[in-house]
């Protein structure tokens, strides 16, 4: 409202003598065209082209740099992941090998133990058999000898029975023989 009033006041005071703000001066329009057009030509060549080019270049440079950095980061991450995976794999493998070795050792131990037990048992059995066999042998030999001795003694007794002297002699001789043996 106050603006319109002021405009009115302004219109009044000028009284149309030196124009109103709504006057359009063709000469000024022409000068405006000339000025803006020349400014456009000069600035296009002088400013916009090189500045926009530089800005684009810089933007491309920054974009490329960021892309490169990003790629490098991704590559590094990939390598780290790979290394980790490899390490894990190697660890697992090592674990497996150790486990296998332990298992194998355990198995071997058991086997050897078993074998040695069996062997010992067998040896004991053999020894027992041998002892038994030897015993039987010795016993049968002893039986034979006892029988022989008994037979011989009986024979001698029977033979020496004829005379007392001879009988005593014989017994002595026999005892002598026995002690000699």
């Amino acid at each position: 409202m106050s603006y319109r009033l002021l405009l009115v006041l302004a219109l009044v005071s000028e009284g149309g003598a030196s124009g109103s703000p709504l006057d359009v001066n063709p000469g000024l329009m022409l000068w405006t065209i000339v000025t803006v057009f020349l400014l456009f030509l000069v600035l296009s060549k002088l400013a916009w082209k090189p500045i926009l080019k530089s800005l684009n270049e810089r933007e491309n440079f920054i974009r490329e740099s960021i892309e490169k950095a990003e790629n490098a980061r991704k590559e590094a991450e990939r390598i780290i992941a790979e290394n980790k995976a490899n390490l894990q794999k190697a660890e697992a493998e090592a674990q497996k090998i150790v486990e296998q070795g332990r298992e194998y050792a355990e198995k071997l131990k058991m086997q050897i133990l078993e074998e040695s037990k069996a062997q010992a048992k067998k040896m004991i059995e053999d020894a027992q058999k041998e002892i038994e066999r030897k015993n039987i042998e010795a016993f049968s030999k002893l039986k034979e000898q006892v029988a022989d001795i008994a037979v011989a003694a009986a024979e001698k007794i029977i033979r020496e029975n004829l005379d007392k002297e001879k009988q005593i002699k014989l017994i002595n001789k026999y005892l002598e023989d026995l002690s000699k043996n």
């Binding site: 302004a10 000469g27 000024l28 803006v36 000069v42 600035l43 002088l46 400013a47 500045i51």
Partner: protein, 278 residues
Amino acid sequence: MLLNNINLADTLKKAQSGQDTGWIMHHILDSKELDLTPFGVIHLPELHLFGLDLSITKHVVFMWIAALILIITFIKVSKSYKKSLVPKGVTNLIEVLVLFVRDEIAKPTIGQGHEKFLPYLLTVFFFILTCNFLGLLPYAATSTSNLAVTATLAIMSFLVIQIGGILKNGFVGYFKGLLPHGIPFWLVPIMFVVELLGLFTKPFALAIRLFANMTAGHIVILALLGLIFILRTYFVVPVSISFALFIYLLEVLVAIIQAYIFTMLSSLFIGMAYHQEH
């Protein structure tokens, strides 16, 4: 309406006879002299050619000063880009504005092919911005508060919009594309006229908006200061000065915003003419 205003004005004039407010218009209107009051007045050369008044007026001088400032600044800026891609000093400020016009105005509104219109948009943006700011300096005049200047700028935008649209879509295709899709055939003649009128109202609005915005603030400041002399009392001084200062700061904002709006709308209309399928 206008007649009514004049009648009202007449009565006002009679009521306040002796109170001269011509000095407000003296500041706003174009003139053939540079008024540097305590130091004197420079009379500008008059020039009449082909029946046209081609005198170098105050606003012409300030347009040239704006152009000169821009050329000097941009020589400096483009030199600094040749030295290195890293901006420094003034280049930083200019770069922000250039990027603003490119990324916030041209790219979103025109989209593909905005590079072709960037030089025009940038020139108009910086020219209007500089002219607007020049108007805020003492002794300077605002060329953009002259309807002839804003109308010329709007006509240029109009030409760029139409030529851009016609070059992209072909002469017949462009005018066909003005019609919205899928309207009943009997609406075609009416819509064509409406759309054709729309082509002219857009730059008209551009011209009036810039002119009115740049004029209004100045008039308000001058009126606020004028209150001191009209009321003839010192008590109004702090009020007038603080309000004037507030309006001045507002004008700084308006100077930026109007440069932005003019460029933005030009760009928008270019985009609409260029990509008609939307």
